[in-house]
Amino acid sequence: MSVLSRRAAAMLVMAVCTVYFLTPLWWLFVGSTKPGGRGVGLWFDHFQLGTNLHAVLTYQDGIFLRWLVNSIGYTVGAAAIGTLLAAMCGYALAKYRFPGRETLFNIVLGGVLVPATALALPLFLLFSKAHAANTYWAVFLPSLVNPFGVYLARIYAASSVPDELLEAARIDGSGEVRSFFTVSVRLMAPALVTIFLFHFVAVWNNFLLPLIMLGNQKLFPVTLGLYTWNSQVDQRPELRGLVLVGACLSLAPMLIAFLSLQRFWRSGLGAGSLK
């Protein structure tokens, strides 16, 4: 009996949490089906999702689609390359001994503590000097940096890539870079997916960096674009509804990323537990 009641209690807590987290998403979806963004309430009223979608995608000559493409461009590229760089860093810190290893790691870890707002102005001055402010690279390059990913990669490399395996690879004549890509990356796959997903979310939601760097509306990511629309609502009341629908649409790439990469996560839970 007690096992059942414990399980029931756990399910109840989970159910409450699920409702808590999913209600805003539901509200957003329902709101984006309503006409003119009069989105208050948790149930449908004058369902017109198709009209709303059409309105968002054609407003201002389809600038919203451009913003979505920009976001995907910034995020997928930066997350992929950023994950690779973080993985290589973490792997090197875990698997090789060299003087200054711990100091370097502590400096990189210290980077996690620096808030984005403190870096905003120096980055802007740096890119202005290079005449690269208000360009694609101004947002892409700083997004490659992921100190937390380095930490994760180091931990995972230390625990899941056995030194013996690397020794064996060296004896067989494989170079370090080759054994990294053929052996270690496969072993570290779940960690890489985790780092990728964290980095993906961080870059997708990146708002402050595009705000200070960009002035050309065609380069905006979807976060900055929706914020700009939202700030014009007084002069353009129709934007109130479009912001809701846009926010709902902008969830799609993240949902796709998470749901499709989920299976790599699950397989990694047990890895490294058997030694």
């Binding site: 760089l85 060299f98 400096i107 802007f124 740096l126 402010a133 705000l211 002035g215």
Partner: protein, 441 residues
């Protein structure tokens, strides 16, 4: 070899922020000193503005002026991040030639020496009479022979009221604040609120104080004086505090669906607001179409004719611009030519600061939402009644934030409006001191 490769990769990740020591404003080599001379050859100007569809207006200019092309940059509104961007860009030396700056933000740019003095451009000084007086003093800070921006639009205030509800309940349309307070009691008895006191709009309150003759900030050339609690403001604060205490006004947060609902469901009957408020009401309270009218703002003394202002922007030329003559030429066209003013009004419902704006066709017609009344006539009269000597402080963002917090406390019953203003005054003086801006007190 592989190890050095790895170390190289690691070191490129640590970006050292070697921020240069370029002092602000010095990057304007000889451009500022040259004054306002036309360039030889084609010129490209950059212009940052957040007016929706400003590109359409600029396209008209670009078509007609192949030698002076203007590139538009946009983003969120000034307080939503663009002002901070301007300051960053001035520091980095790559500020645009032209930027949209609201009147209450101009002093903060002036204090940082970010604005080019267009007093040397004869075209600009000659245009002084084309603008309503108080807008010119906003952009020239009262300095003779100097001007730092070209006024774009204005927000003269008036009284939006529900004509049908006032008539139905036999309540006279108030012409003085005393009558307004009396009407508030009658409206409460009839089941509504006369208006909503907005705790999130300290600049609306500033408009009230402006009408009453307050001077929040004065600058004698060296020192600033801050007085948010001068007699005129105290009078206004006491008046609204009284209405709040007697629960004759609602206190719904502005710019929300809740606020729209309050007007849409006949809960609130008036709004003392700026000319652009006409759009806010018509889009937020569509069910009340045809039932509104506009009257002049209530006065403190019967027979007075004073009005306040809420909002309005100017087009400024930033220091360091290499083509001040062309930039000034564009700014003047944007804000005085009929085609530009018509386009701006069409794109964003801007009410022009230029005197000629009052005669735009779009602004001389009756407006159906307001019972076909020619509401812009009231605003045109109000615009002429705004006092020309109200100065904003150099740290209005902070002043607004502090006043707004205090207002919220006052509306919820823990504190008064006067206390909010006293605290805001103290913290403003503190902020000015901490930024090494000379201030008395």
């Amino acid at each position: 070899m592989r190890r050095t490769l790895a170390i190289l990769l690691l070191s490129t990740l640590s970006i050292t922020a070697c921020s240069s020591n370029s002092s602000s404003g010095d990057s304007s080599t000889g451009a500022a000193a040259a004054g306002c001379a036309p360039a030889n050859g084609p010129v490209t100007l950059s212009f940052t503005s957040w007016v929706p569809d400003i590109q359409k207006v600029v396209d008209i200019w670009n078509q007609a002026n192949p030698n002076i092309q203007v590139k538009v940059q946009t983003g969120p509104n000034g307080n939503g991040g663009t002002y901070q961007n301007f300051f960053n860009q001035l520091k980095a030396g790559n500020a645009p030639d032209l930027g949209q700056i609201e009147y209450d933000a101009l002093p903060s740019f002036r204090v940082q020496d970010g604005l080019m003095d267009l007093g040397t451009c004869s075209d600009v000084t000659a245009a002084k009479d084309k603008f309503v007086d108080w807008t010119w003093s906003q952009v020239s800070f009262g300095e003779q022979g100097h001007v730092y921006a070209v006024p774009q639009d204005a927000g003269p205030m008036a009284l939006f009221y529900r004509k049908d509800l006032f008539e139905k309940n036999n309540i006279k349309v108030p012409t003085t604040w005393q009558e307004y307070a009396d009407a508030a009691v009658k409206v409460k008895a009839a089941g509504g609120y006369i208006t909503n006191f907005s705790t999130g709009d300290p600049n609306q309150f500033a408009g009230f104080a402006w009408q009453a003759g307050a001077h929040w900030f004065t600058n004698d050339g060296t020192n600033w004086t801050v007085s948010l609690t001068d007699p005129a403001t105290s009078k206004v604060a006491a008046y609204w505090q009284d209405l709040i205490d007697k629960k004759l006004v609602s206190a719904v947060p502005p710019w929300t669906d809740e606020w729209n609902n309050a007007y849409n469901t006949d809960k609130d009957w008036t709004w003392v607001s700026a000319v652009w408020g006409a759009n806010t009401i018509s889009s937020g309270a569509p069910k009340t179409s045809g039932k509104w009218a506009v009257a002049p703002m209530p006065q403190w003394t019967a027979g007075d004719q004073a009005a306040g202002d809420w909002g309005g922007s100017s087009t400024a030329v930033f220091k360091g611009s290499k083509h001040p003559y062309e930039a000034a030429k564009f700014a003047l066209w944007l804000n005085t030519s009929t085609e530009a003013l018509t386009a701006l009004n069409k794109a964003a419902s801007l009410y022009p600061a230029a005197k000629a704006g009052a005669t735009l066709p779009a602004l001389t017609e009756g407006v159906p939402f307001y019972g076909n009344q020619k509401i812009y006539d009231v605003f045109s009269a109000a615009s002429a009644q705004v006092k020309p000597d109200f100065t904003w402080g150099p740290t209005m963002t902070q002043t607004y934030a502090d006043a707004g917090d205090g207002f919220k406390a006052a509306a919820s019953g823990t504190g008064t409006l006067l206390k909010a203003l006293t605290d805001a005054q103290a913290s403003t003086i503190q902020t000015l001191k901490s930024q090494s801006i000379p201030v008395k007190g």
